[in-house]
Symmetry: C2
Subunit: 436 residues, 2 copies
Amino acid sequence: MRKINIGLIGCGTVGTGVAKLLLENKDIIIERLGTEIVLRRVADIDIKKDRGIKFEEGVFIDDAQKVVDDPEIDIIVEMIGGKGIAKDVILKAIKNGKQVVTANKALIASHGKTIFKEAYAKNVDIAFEASVGGCMPIIKALREALVGNRIYAMTGILNGTCNYILTQITDKESLFQEALLEAQKKGFAEADPTLDIEGFDTAHKLSILMSLAYGININFNDIYIEGITKITPIDIMFAKQFGYKIKLLAITKKRETGIEARVHPTMIPFDNLLSSVNGSLNAITVSGDAVGDLLLYGYGAGMMPTASAVVSDIVDLSRNILFNSKGRVPFLSYQMEYVKDISILPIDDIVTEYYFRFSALDQPGVLSKISGILGEHNISIKSVNQKSRKTNEPVPIVMVTHIAKESDVKKAFNVISSLNIVCDKPVLIRIEEEDK
Amino acid sequence: MRKINIGLIGCGTVGTGVAKLLLENKDIIIERLGTEIVLRRVADIDIKKDRGIKFEEGVFIDDAQKVVDDPEIDIIVEMIGGKGIAKDVILKAIKNGKQVVTANKALIASHGKTIFKEAYAKNVDIAFEASVGGCMPIIKALREALVGNRIYAMTGILNGTCNYILTQITDKESLFQEALLEAQKKGFAEADPTLDIEGFDTAHKLSILMSLAYGININFNDIYIEGITKITPIDIMFAKQFGYKIKLLAITKKRETGIEARVHPTMIPFDNLLSSVNGSLNAITVSGDAVGDLLLYGYGAGMMPTASAVVSDIVDLSRNILFNSKGRVPFLSYQMEYVKDISILPIDDIVTEYYFRFSALDQPGVLSKISGILGEHNISIKSVNQKSRKTNEPVPIVMVTHIAKESDVKKAFNVISSLNIVCDKPVLIRIEEEDK
């Protein structure tokens, strides 16, 4: 059988991991694939940095263009990241008729439609397993393993940085800023952590998963996004008292009127397996009509776990090359002609349970006033925690509600915030109970 | 694109689920696959039973032979179970050049070699995702998603019946026999539960997974097997005190000298996610050099979860038919010419931690006597629980050891059992701590 030639562009953390894995596990990949995968070219602007890999003469170069144009190369592996050069490289690779592997969630979430359209026209495969969930084969699961299921919901912890920080705040009662610094020191957070901590990275991933699950065009812009920067030890402590942990979740549900799609800090009960996913680990639950709930759990980032997913894509595309079966599985799980646009519902339309923390003066009748206003807005309280402290300082009143509508909550909050007994802006954290 | 014709043989629980899923989710399968999967024939000896499905005229027949011989049928789905007729049906289907989907773990574990050899010779695909872990795509994960990894260990809860029974014993302090009756009443255990409760079903599955992970011929006979019939509430209670839950685990580890492969009740710490897998659910952790630990969790049995896996196989093989890419992924993950025989180590060779319960007379010096004998056999104790009761009745002495060798444990037990202060046969349960 003929060998498969790889051109790897971008040799940062994950790119280096891919090169290492292809070289160190070459034997076992041959035993499984039946032929050799040759790392023909690796391009990076920084060719001086030692990556601990001994490339053969002439393999490691600084000219990405030369890799994309190399007629011997079958598969381009884009590991540059970002939406600039990476996009040009991928589009050029497609134009040259090369198969493409990428881990670039931001690019796919933003420009997937263009890229897939070009790839489809050229009968080129684009694989992107590593873009969501690191080593977890969630994309393969959605595209292949769950192919007989109508998927109606997904809930995931998809960002290791946020999960690491939240675990720190929970276990060590750190403040957000301390936990972020710790995460940066340990390499779990970037120097500019905005993409992660503000929830954008999670939303990029969610937009890809929703497209695969529901057969819709990738829609990142309409996802409701709230990051973790406002999470405090006090809310984590109260959550614990109510039997919940706080996680940054990606949540989507298919409803008759449209799709729910939201990323926000969420309280989940201790007996939900997702509440036990700690540190930089990721997990996702997919709910389908035949499988019920299926959960995947593993390292969602890091050099080698992500490289594992990239190599699985490389082997998948190699098989398509060897068997001349390009396009065997559609990029986004559904055949192009069936991909629809279904709107994402505004956050005001969701119904869920809530945790509220009000900061109010310790005066008689405060709780009755607040709960009265909630009641007028169809919000019924499941559980309350208020400790009188005989002080002039504001005290926290925390409560958990039954199912309520987000728009009602907003209206009630407007009224409550205007009361002069209420001091700070009320805190709201959504709760995700498992559907019974 | 041309349609794919299916012949389903055996319309029991899972077979019925497959027929239902193919019919009820036909639209969504077309949107993903790009063509229709037609349920052309369904055969079962009992054609009178109402399965709640309206088959088209002439589809449902009692003659399996007619299905296997139908030249229009592309894929035979064997849902008969057992090792008799099922084997004949599959071999005949292969002979007729048809692709085969099966969920029959017992058959593959026992006759896989013959079946795969025939299939290879005829360039026919055999798919068997539903044979292990119900809806969990563990076979796809091993064959495809983890293709770049050297896999060195797997640990799984692979039998829903056993897990349901153990959960009952744990939560309700039932005795084994009561819990089994309860499981049978609820449909979680068969009338003859031997295959499940004695660990054979778990071992069948383990033999398949090991073959896929390590590239070895399927070897069921050398797996060490111990069922759950001797598990008592008292050991579960002591386990809890030491911070463990008891689960029936399939465990395999690749060691330099060979492969560890064993199925037995095992104590696992509370913080291992597997300890939270309750009721009829299944889960498996795969450890690879790149991924670290990857865990899958979901329904390991039941009509629709299993049907979901069967349908994913049907679609996979349909894609191979449509793209003429049969044999694209080797049956057992490795190319035939690389499949090796690696011996399974005898149980005496394993090293692990142990829980012991001795039943001894409440006399001075008993503990020192027992621990002395253990020490002489290189078994060092991590933790002990002995409560003196000032009674003439035997009292339990329970302990947890550090890492010890099984052969040493056996020798020590021989000596300890012969002491006249020791009353009953000592109880031994292996412990699985996560590798640090």
